[in-house]
């Protein structure tokens, strides 16, 4: 091993910060990675890990702080520069070109050339074949990237990084969608890269992986560096307390509510290649959490239930009455409300005032003779915004200028105005700073208390465990576990989220 304390570290970040408008994504990130080391980076979702990675990758430019590579200060303004400097990043969600072949995806931008600067397809196919053999997978190098499973897409990303011969390899939850065998294979490759003297940064939520693979671990919380430990001098429980830093129960105050009759009933919902045999039920006053890894099909199911996307077979009914598929309007009429993941894009008319946003969905109800005046809109929207304590001094403020937490509340207000029986909410607190998260949670909990049925999708395990009365776990488009609040431990959920039904049996 080349690692030594005297040599300059491959990567050193000190007090790096990054804000997006009013949202501080990274307050003070620090990270020091030596050559020949696998360095784990852990922290809750929203702790700033992904932002830190994107600074290293050149996707974002840091606002303040130092950033050194091999002892040299660097300042990347593009991903090309970081690549040039020998940094390869494998993102959580793979980014491939669907129209192009797998091989082209691996070599794009640095294709092998033969005489006359022609790209040498045969050589690339051969090398891709070699890479796949080394990774122990069977993917046809000539097939298009379109239609590959998330696991296979990850493999392509990894093959790409390996072929790049990078000196620093950053993996942002690379194992999130891999099966046990594939994880082992990846680890073997990671170790061999480490033994070649490369530095690896490994982001994972799974402590067993962190302890199996890494030699050093850095903990982040709320956008800041907390501590770095050698892996043999720490324990999972110590890492958890460093990561959380506060009591989970305070964060997610779900008040017990009386659970009533079933509101949403989904039977045998299928969509080829996306999800299969989905049965679920949400009762009045109940919060059902839909957990699973990125790409497991959670959002897709929500969108299909609400009718945004079509499904091949199965049925959806609200309060016993069937709801037509692929028709959001009939879903709204049946009493469904849907708050999508990316509220800026899908749930909120970002350049309109709060009033307009809230009144938008109920305009039919409040309009007179098909006309809508702002006075009418104000009358209809006022009470809702007040109930939700949206901190907008004037309801005329445009939604774009508000914080993430307040935007989310406006979106919720917008849907509550329709008087729904069921609320489907996808990633309710993504991109919301920690202080405001609790308010969103309190609101959801109160709404459940008033008898609303809530189907909540969340990638944040503590959020799911803290809020949900029942947790459904998805893996590769199938429900692999249904856990009551009492049985829902992080281990149980993660186990179900990473194991196929077949494997679990």
């Amino acid at each position: 091993m080349i690692a030594s304390n005297t040599a300059a570290p491959v990567l050193e970040l000190r007090d790096v910060s990054k804000s997006f408008g009013p949202v501080v994504a990274l307050r003070s990130g620090s990270l020091r990675v030596d050559a020949g080391s696998i360095h784990a980076l852990v922290g809750e979702n929203g702790a700033g890990k992904s932002t830190l990675v994107k600074v290293v990758a050149g996707v974002h430019r840091r606002d303040t702080g130092t950033f050194e590579l091999g002892g040299e200060p660097v300042d990347f303004s593009s991903t090309a520069e970081s690549k040039q400097a020998g940094i390869a990043v494998i993102y959580q969600e793979p980014t491939l070109f669907p129209d192009l072949s797998v091989t082209e995806n691996i070599f794009m931008g640095r294709q092998l050339l033969s005489r006359g600067r022609r790209i040498d397809r045969q050589a690339m196919y051969a090398e891709a074949e070699g890479l796949f053999t080394r990774l122990g997978v069977r993917i046809d190098p000539r097939r298009p990237a379109e239609g590959l499973s998330i696991a296979d897409q990850q493999i392509i990303e990894i093959a790409k990084a390996i072929s790049l011969d990078a000196r620093l390899l950053v993996m942002d939850e690379p194992t999130a969608a891999l099966s046990g065998v594939e994880v082992e294979r990846l680890f073997a490759v990671a170790r061999s890269l480490r033994d070649e003297g490369r530095a690896l940064v490994f982001i994972s939520h799974r402590f067993d992986e962190v302890f199996a693979l890494a030699d050093t671990v850095t903990v982040m919380r709320d956008g800041a560096y907390i501590d770095t430990r050698r892996i043999d001098e720490t324990s999972p429980s110590e890492l958890v307390s460093l990561m959380v830093g506060r009591d989970v129960d305070d964060l997610f105050p779900k008040v017990p509510a009386e659970i009533g009759a079933p509101v949403l009933q989904v039977r045998g919902l299928n969509r080829a290649g996306v999800f299969h045999d989905i049965d679920l039920e949400v009762r009045a006053g109940e919060i059902v959490g839909l957990a699973g890894l990125v790409g497991a099909g959670r959002s897709e199911i929500a969108r299909a239930v609400f009718g945004v996307d079509r499904y091949d077979s199965g049925s959806v009914s609200v309060a016993g009455k069937p709801v037509k598929g692929h028709d959001p309007r009939s879903a709204i009429r049946a009493g469904m409300a849907f708050i999508p993941e990316d509220r800026r894009k899908q749930g909120l008319v970002i350049d309109s005032s709060v009033t307009r946003n809230v009144a938008g969905v109920i305009r039919r109800g409040i309009a007179k003779a098909g006309l809508l005046t702002s006075a009418m809109e104000h009358r209809a929207a006022g009470p809702w915004a007040a109930t939700l304590e949206v901190k907008t001094s004037a309801l005329d403020m445009t939604a774009a200028t508000m914080s993430g937490g307040n935007q989310q509340k406006v979106v919720i207000a917008k849907w509550l105005a329709t008087g729904p029986k069921l609320l489907i909410i996808d990633e309710p607190t993504r991109g919301i700073d920690v202080g405001t998260k609790a308010e969103v949670h309190r609101l959801l909990s109160e709404l459940a208390g008033q008898g609303l049925a809530i189907l909540m999708i969340s990638s944040e395990l503590p959020e799911v465990l803290g809020m949900a009365d029942r947790v459904l776990v998805l893996c590769e488009g199938r429900i692999t576990a249904e856990l009551d609040r009492a049985d829902a431990t992080p281990e149980a959920v993660m186990h179900a989220a990473t194991h196929h039904l077949e494997a679990a049996r």
Binding site: F97, G109, P141, R142, L148, L178, S179
Partner: protein, 361 residues
């Protein structure tokens, strides 16, 4: 995801259709069969067969459609200018953009050609062609810079420059017309002469087509254009020079439109203010009919060129088949709609097949 670890049990025995295999596991086919299946299933071939059918029909009705010196010449010569435009347009569309200003660029350089010969009668033809290429490239550069750096959709930018460039041409030309008498005979011969029965204009168009087609298929830069069109965000993450490539695509489109303007003057001898009106839409149509996906990322300029041939040939064939003017346009419209619908259907079918192959694995 098990199909990545384990040999599929049916790997040996299966007789899945060649098209299915081509999609999921092309390497299982023998190289010859792979090439054959790819060609047989290519959009270029089917559009070429449509072209052949049109020519055969028209020739059966009227033998001189193809088998007369005029018929043969028109068959090759008429589409040449549109081929140039369609090639440029194709490259731009592959990057998920569009260039609507090519007609106006062509008008400007067509007029420039005449103007240059009037001002400097002794000017060598090559210099004039180079000047037109240059002016076209500069106008394309303006488009490209606005699209790549202004982050405004190409549709809006080039719609704007369509009017601006046309306005410049109208102001510059005034009520002037360029007539054949203003042009040197040597230049006009460029538009009519043929080598071994193939008009020079056609040769120029085919050489350009071959060069661009070769570049797109075999050069890094060419493949990056496809990548950018396939997923622009991913292209940024890959560290590709997205802006530079998009800029270059527009410069190429502009330069080819510039060349087309000069060749237009050589071919027709007269330049009025309405030169190239609406031809940009024909260029887009040719590219789309030829199999270039309107959202970028797939298709070839070969297809675009065949599409251009088909459009022009249909326009020439329908009257001789005795079809009314209204129906002539409707046929072209149906062709475009058909091409787009076919694209969507094929894409959806491919996505479903790929998804199913994943489920069955």
């Amino acid at each position: 995801m098990s199909h990545t670890d384990i040999e599929r049990p049916d790997a040996e025995s299966s007789e899945v259709s060649a098209s299915e295999a081509l999609l999921v596991e092309p390497s299982r086919l023998s190289p010859t069969r792979r090439v054959l299946t790819t060609v047989l299933r290519s959009r270029e071939l089917s559009i070429f067969l449509v072209l052949v059918a049109v020519v055969v029909l028209a020739t059966a009705k009227n033998e001189s459609f193809l088998f007369s010196s005029d018929g043969w010449r028109n068959f090759l010569l008429n589409p040449s200018i549109l081929v140039l435009l369609a090639v440029g347009q194709g490259v731009v569309i592959i990057t998920r953009n569009v260039d609507l200003s090519v007609g106006s660029v062509m008008a400007l350089t067509a007029y420039l050609t005449g103007r240059l010969f009037i001002e400097q009668p002794g000017l060598p033809v090559v210099v004039v062609l180079a000047a037109c290429l240059l002016l076209g490239a500069v106008l394309g550069l303006v488009n490209g810079a606005l699209v790549a750096y202004g982050n405004v959709p190409a549709l809006v930018i080039t719609l704007g420059t369509l009017y601006i460039y046309r306005g410049i041409m109208l102001t510059w030309a005034g009520s002037d017309r360029i007539n054949a008498g203003d042009l040197p005979r040597e230049f006009l011969r460029l538009g009519t002469r043929a080598v071994l029965g193939v008009p020079i204009l056609t040769i120029i168009a085919l050489v350009v087509l071959a060069a661009v087609g070769y570049y797109l298929h075999t050069a890094r830069g060419g493949r990056e254009l496809y990548a950018i069109g396939s997923d622009p965000d991913a292209a940024v993450l890959y560290g590709l020079a997205v802006r530079r490539r998009v800029l270059a695509a527009f410069v190429l489109s502009g330069a080819l439109a510039g060349l087309a303007g000069a060749l237009y003057t050589a071919r027709y001898g007269t330049v009025s203010s309405s030169v190239g009106n609406g031809i940009e839409l024909q260029a887009v149509a040719a590219a789309v009919i030829g199999g270039i996906a309107i959202f970028g990322g797939s298709g070839t300029v070969w297809g675009a060129a065949i599409g251009a041939f088909l459009l022009v040939t249909i326009n020439r064939a329908l009257p001789s088949l005795g079809i009314e003017d209204f129906w002539q346009r409707a046929v072209v419209g149906a062709l475009i709609l058909g091409a787009i619908v076919l694209d969507r259907v094929l894409a959806a079918r491919q996505a479903r097949r790929l998804a199913e192959s994943r489920d069955h694995a």
